[in-house]
Symmetry: C2
Subunit: 239 residues, 2 copies
Amino acid sequence: MGTRERKQREVQAREELFLSTARRLIREEGLLTLQMARLARACDYATGTLYQHFASKEDLLVALATQRMREHAEQFCRAASWQAGTRDRMFALSVVDHAFNRQHPGFARLLQYVFTEVVWESASPDRRQALQVELEAPAAAVTGIVSQAIADGELVSGRLTPQELMLGPWGLSAGIQSMQQTRGMLAGLGIEDPTRLLHHHVQAVLNGLGWQPLFDLDDGTALDGLVARIEREVIHAES
Amino acid sequence: MGTRERKQREVQAREELFLSTARRLIREEGLLTLQMARLARACDYATGTLYQHFASKEDLLVALATQRMREHAEQFCRAASWQAGTRDRMFALSVVDHAFNRQHPGFARLLQYVFTEVVWESASPDRRQALQVELEAPAAAVTGIVSQAIADGELVSGRLTPQELMLGPWGLSAGIQSMQQTRGMLAGLGIEDPTRLLHHHVQAVLNGLGWQPLFDLDDGTALDGLVARIEREVIHAES
DNA sequence: GCACTTTTTTGAACCAGATTCAATATCCGA
DNA sequence: TCGGATATTGAATCTGGTTCAAAAAAGTGC
């Protein structure tokens, strides 16, 4: 009679409520001050009910990260299937990634925290696994672009596999963005516009890997134009 | 009468004891399980005494990171003044950085944790400042190499300042190394030898930035040879 | 060496906040 | 409607960081 299913849906909805409320609390008062009892109360449930969904606070955080990661993966895959050359698509991934992080300011911070030994190791294996699963689609998307570039002769793989090749642009994006997190670090070095710089350097690695057609790094206008086009065609595209 | 100074030295020594014991405890039982009371007891002092040195647990962690960072900065500066061309010296920084992290396996993890909003914001301003100070020397070293490369005509700065240029290689190193931290992440992608890959990609960015003389990325032997030479002449050099 | 003040050390008490679990309420099939 | 299964509750428990009044040690003037 479907009463089981309804129950399922209710539980699902409640989990959603917990997650979105947690997100709001974090936005309003910071990751630092999130408290399980307060979260439960804010949702009009008892503490114990919250623990029926999440085995621990760390679990909740991983779940939060997983949820956002899913959205992120969607955007990412959209960028990967953009109608453009492999090189531009690869670059688009970095732009989309960065735009996503700007749109969800807490996400990068949360992810940084979640991947910390202290949090990661105290989350339940299931939740960890779920987050890792969300990483697969984006990874496959990137690898696909690299493979196609090799097949099309726009990129020479040398001794490296596609996975290994993608580590360059990916690592660079991740590295610069994580520096952007640490309050005051880049400003302290006199760096003004990290976003533009990130794009510049990603183009530099792609050039360095010999990914055709090479990009003229001195042409600031072309870079801005390309970024604008990606934002228009990929990020703000209807879907 | 110098009794004040002696006292100073004793306090200094005790702080050193706390730090090195903390390091041992973390090594033996993990960051996760470090407890202030246990640490104090392990040093034969009362909890309160420990708090005379460190305002909080977070403070202690930042102090720990700062101490190691100082050693790291030394190695780093040594590499920066290596007798070699600017390009090789820049590359050497990345090699030294990575070697240091391999030699002190917990350091990267600790740093990752410390730079987390949750920890960073609950450490005292003094301790934060102290860690930031330790970043200045390395930053100056890198910037110096970049500036010299520009002066020598081995690198064309375009529209970027030396600080901005160095963000490329630096961000890449940081990004790949932090991925290496997250247990199983790289292995899950089928990546075997992240160290070699890191070196490869750093050379790729340097090539991409047009840093002369360009490095032949297909020549694996040359890469290994250069790394070996750096390890010999910079890392294991007497000082 | 002694009486007194100041500084340092101590560790048990305190407190915050995550987690548990016995009691209670709700649901569901018969 | 009844009886057992399941879900919810929130006060009690537990862990571990932090504090602070008391005790000890060090310093000072005589």
